[in-house]
């Protein structure tokens, strides 16, 4: 039995390839349906004959006994495996700035996930900001649902983005996609080298203060969609002792790496090897994206002393400035020890201070006592 954690592009590709080789495959996902974030709500389904366990969180695992501990809304249980593929995808990178905890401020993929699940954004004034190609994809989606995208603020400068555009010519499918996005965004103001400095509002976000070079300005909004890139979800892999992790690379890298993992798990390394050139090309493209949208150091100065950095435990920047490691911050301030288990502030403090959060312990996610006792 091959067990795959994650039913996004990578998990779906792994399941399909392993199934084609005749393996028995079970896919587990935290969401009610397969598709991951990118294909959320599109009704995509797993390959025929693949067993799907929806709405299940992997709380921990035992690589010696070859079992995973799962928790669902109603119960818990152990899932045995012979081969295990972790295709846990990515989350968005969120960086602290004054006001970033206000209701109405989402991630870009975050607001898109909610909109895909049925949130009406028609006539809402939405600011899309941060960095990376998801800004354009998100803005295009919101606009297609009737939102007024007031501004796309990309922190990378126009020169980097133009240079990236020139590189696109080597990837014809990407040129087409980029052209479609540009057409869908005609008339939407876009600024490069522009970033969010603060958000304001009483009970929810009402306006966003931005900067572009020496010019500061304010945009009134209903919602803000702000994210600074992607962070791979490596917690479970680290917990289970993996030391070489694939990382976040977008849908093309995910798909081909998923296929490779599925083939290897099914014992067909020979077929997997044929995919290496495709994988290498996808990774080169992902690296070009990373270089283009590298975050500017100015963003490290966005949070003020009183700005909350750890949203679970409400730990402010000034309390963290006395710590010299993530471990020290955990011990002295409880930073990273709340329900999200540092999934948000861990990546933020890595950017702000260069800290590494290397102490992942079970449970990987908050779990009910009954789940842990039962195991």
């Amino acid at each position: 039995m091959i067990v795959i954690v994650g039913a996004g592009p990578a998990g779906m590709a792994a399941a399909r390839r392993a199934r084609e080789c005749g393996a028995e495959v079970t896919v587990v996902d935290d969401n009610p349906a397969p598709g991951g974030q990118i294909w959320r709500g599109e009704g995509r389904w797993l390959a025929d004959g693949v067993r799907f366990v929806p709405s299940a969180r992997v709380v921990s695992g035992d690589t010696a006994a070859k079992t995973l501990l799962l928790e669902t809304e109603r119960g818990a249980g152990e899932l045995p495996y012979d081969r295990l593929i972790l295709a846990t995808g990515s989350r968005e990178l969120f960086l602290p700035f004054p006001g970033w905890t206000l209701p109405g401020i989402f991630g870009v993929g975050g607001l898109q996930a909610l909109a895909k699940s049925g949130l009406a954004v028609r006539r809402k004034r939405i600011l899309v900001a941060g960095s990376g190609p998801l800004l354009l994809a998100g803005a295009s989606y919101f606009r297609s649902k009737g939102a007024e995208v007031v501004l796309i603020a990309e922190q990378a400068d126009a020169f980097s983005v133009a240079r990236f555009g020139a590189q696109l010519l080597r990837h014809p499918a990407k040129v087409l996609r980029a052209a479609q996005l540009q057409v869908s965004l005609l008339g939407v103001p876009t600024k490069h080298g522009c970033w969010v400095e603060a958000a304001e509002g009483t009970d929810r976000v009402e306006c966003i203060h931005l900067r572009q070079g020496s010019r500061a300005f304010t945009e009134p909004v209903d919602y803000a969609a702000i994210a600074w890139g992607l962070v791979p979800n490596t917690e479970l892999a680290t917990l289970l002792g993996c030391d070489s992790l694939a990382g976040a690379g977008g849908v093309d890298v995910s798909t081909v790496e998923g296929e490779i993992a599925g083939l290897i798990a099914a014992g067909r390394e020979d077929l997997a090897r044929e995919l290496y050139p495709r994988r290498d090309k996808a990774i080169r493209f992902a690296k070009a994206i990373d270089e283009t949208f590298a975050l500017r150091p100015d963003l490290r100065h966005l949070p003020k002393p009183e700005t909350i950095v750890c949203r679970c435990e409400d730990v402010t920047l000034e309390r963290l400035q006395f710590c010299n490691s993530f471990r020290a911050a955990k011990l002295h301030t409880r930073c990273g020890m709340g329900p999200c288990q540092a999934r948000i502030c861990g990546a933020a403090t890595r950017f702000l201070f260069g800290w590494q959060d290397d102490s992942i312990r079970p449970p990987a996610l908050p779990a009910r006592i009954g789940t842990l006792i039962g195991s």
Binding site: R91, G104, G118, R204, R311, P339, R343, P366
Partner: protein
């Protein structure tokens, strides 16, 4: 689809998540942080735990990951 939000009935959309139903009902605050700030969904995908609410008596449930069901009782705050 009728659900109860803090005791008040709301006729919300079907085939969606609790988080979306709450936002459609005009709910701005989902929970209060430990220092008392109002909080609402951030990541939309089950990572950040900012959208957690009490559903049918079960506390700390991530509303963005739970499909809405007829008669659900949701408590925020």
């Amino acid at each position: 689809m009728l659900i109860l939000i803090d005791g008040k009935p709301f006729d919300g959309p079907e085939d969606t998540t609790v988080a979306v139903a709450l936002l459609m009902a005009g709910q701005t605050m989902f929970r209060r942080s430990i220092s008392g700030e109002p909080r609402a969904p951030l990541c939309g995908m089950g990572i950040c735990f900012e959208c957690r609410v009490t559903i049918d008596g079960c506390a700390h449930v991530r509303s963005c990951q739970i499909p809405v069901r007829e008669g659900m009782e949701i408590r925020t705050g």
